[in-house]
């Protein structure tokens, strides 16, 4: 039983990372129907930013986290402006290839500038393990879970109750109609990118701190996993992305704990396909009725 709860904790802390990343995917997808392949690499940028400000300017954790969110939000907006905005009215598959191009650019550009070796992230928060009834949980795990939940709640509040959030929802439903009622779609889309990328930046710093290892390719695998999580949850749906993230995290933990670690990713994909076959647009996805 102890082992079971321990594994649940493991799964939740892994899942919260996927969930944070999946949120960015799902927001961007919801508004411009683009699979933003570069999202995982923005997370990498966040981790590297955290690495440098902590090492060079001796920021504390909160300052590093917030500044990484700002920088990543900014880079998200810049990427959107130069790489995606010119393609707003092109086929979606073109924008997808551009996103892949941006992803290659960020990965290899960082590898060129900073080398492709793994680096150790400065440990500014001392790890303390708590033992609750035989189940071990560290302060950093709690911190990640809490931050993830707070950010997800905050995001939900922004989308539900602010003016910008309403504009985002309007643009995602019907861009032209939104323009008619006076919404500036460019501004709204930029804001969405800023928000999604800021979340990725936060995830980057937290993961750097938790795992203590960052490298230019670190965004690739979690990026794809988070994308899968977003699809499982119903891409475009914010609660769906959080749920999908936790689901994938728990599933991976389960597979590994029964000794099938070699097939970890295969099982995740099997579950993905099965879920899609039962619910063709994911768990919380909107099923658009076709009109004849």
């Amino acid at each position: 039983m102890q082992t079971f709860f321990q594994q649940v904790i493991n799964g939740l802390s892994l899942g919260s990372i996927y969930a944070l990343l999946a949120l960015g995917y799902t927001m961007v997808y919801g508004i411009i129907k683009l699979i933003n392949f570069a999202h995982g690499d923005i997370y990498m940028l966040g981790a590297f930013w955290g690495y440098y400000v902590i090492n060079v300017w001796h920021f504390n954790f909160i300052a590093a986290l917030l500044s990484a969110m700002v920088i990543c939000g900014l880079s998200g907006v810049i990427i959107e402006y130069f790489a995606y905005r010119p393609l707003r009215h092109s086929p979606r598959i073109t924008a997808l290839i551009t996103a892949i191009g941006v992803s290659f650019f960020l990965e290899n550009g960082m590898a060129y500038l900073f080398g492709s070796n793994a680096r150790d992230f400065p440990q500014i928060v001392k790890q303390v393990n708590y033992n609750i009834g035989g189940v071990r949980i560290s302060n950093i795990q709690i911190q990640i879970l809490a931050t993830a939940c707070i950010l997800m709640l905050l995001l939900q509040l922004i989308i539900r109750y602010t003016k910008m959030g309403r504009a985002m929802r309007a643009v995602s439903v019907d861009n032209d109609a939104a323009q008619l009622v006076g919404i500036n779609p460019n501004l709204t889309i930029s804001f969405t990118f800023a928000l999604g990328s800021a979340l990725a930046g936060a995830a980057g710093v937290m993961i750097g701190l938790y795992y203590n290892s960052i490298d230019p390719l670190m965004g690739m695998t979690p990026g794809i996993k988070a994308f899968v999580a977003a699809v499982v949850g119903g891409i475009g749906s914010v609660p769906g992305a959080s749920l999908g993230g936790f689901l994938i995290g728990l599933l991976e933990t389960l597979v590994q704990s029964v000794g099938l670690s070699a097939y970890k990713d295969a099982v995740v994909y099997v579950v993905l396909i099965v879920i899609l076959l039962i619910l063709p647009t994911g768990i919380f996805g909107k099923n658009v009725k076709e009109k004849v």
């Binding site: 598959i93 551009t98 650019f105 290899n108 060129y112 396909i273 076959l277 063709p280 004849v292």
Partner: protein, 319 residues
Amino acid sequence: MIILKANLKYNVCWFIVMAAAFYLVNILVMVGIIDSFIENMLVTIWINVILATGLNLIIGFAGQFSLGHAGFMAIGAYAAAIITQQVDTVGGFYLSLVVGVIIAIIAAVIVGIPTLRLKGDYLAIATMGAAEIIRIIINNLKITNGPAGMFNIPQFATWPFVYITMCVTTIVVVNFINSRGGRIIMSVRDDEIAAESMGINTTRWKLAAFVLGAATAAIAGGLHASYLQTIAPNDFGIMESISILIIVVLGGVGSITGSVVAAVVLGVLDTILQDFGTLRMVIYAVALILIMVFKPSGLLGTWEFSIRRLFASLKRRKV
């Protein structure tokens, strides 16, 4: 054959063009202008042409967004590697290609029947998942030698063989597109409901395109394994599927000519970039972004080079 016959004249013309190109390459090889380095580049390009035309059939003509092409390629490659290591003859190689194609078709049917009901990006991620499952299974099997991959595979796929296979698969794909079947899948792509109301079994035709694409991918995989003489599961990951997708989109979704042009452009670019060391992928990425931003519908859009049209315009000029 029925399909071939309908376009007999043009197919003969294509045969002549292809044969002429073959002799040109052969002469260049004999003169020594094409050394094994350029040969390597050409063969890679040709294999990519097979892969890209197959994927373009699925994405551009049938309108089904598949991200799992590398999985079928892996099946073909491993079939060729395993069989030719046992049966070290040309016959064994042909057999292995056939076996690879059959297994790929079976896999495509198993993957396609459930997933082709999905739409757009959901289909993309499901096919990507399926390809990853194939790769992970290969990575853990004994017969495929796990992550170490297989090497010392006998080389039967010399450049003439790869070239001829490329010509044949391209002709088959193009003739399929120009046949009744091709028109059906395009009607399904443009409006599934309208096609269905015309009495077309849309699932079956989507599956037909998917299976044909998978079969060509398996052939390309077999050629890849036999020419390179070494394969590893990591060659067939998501990144390989994406790089085939890049060729298709760069050339123009729905243009076979575009796929050929893009395969050549990217192949040459990749080779030239070998001189740039660590910067190569950065330059490649920037080139990719720039081409897409300035040529959003791909290099050729949906434009297709057609001998038929060439003849027609010549005739018009005469008159």
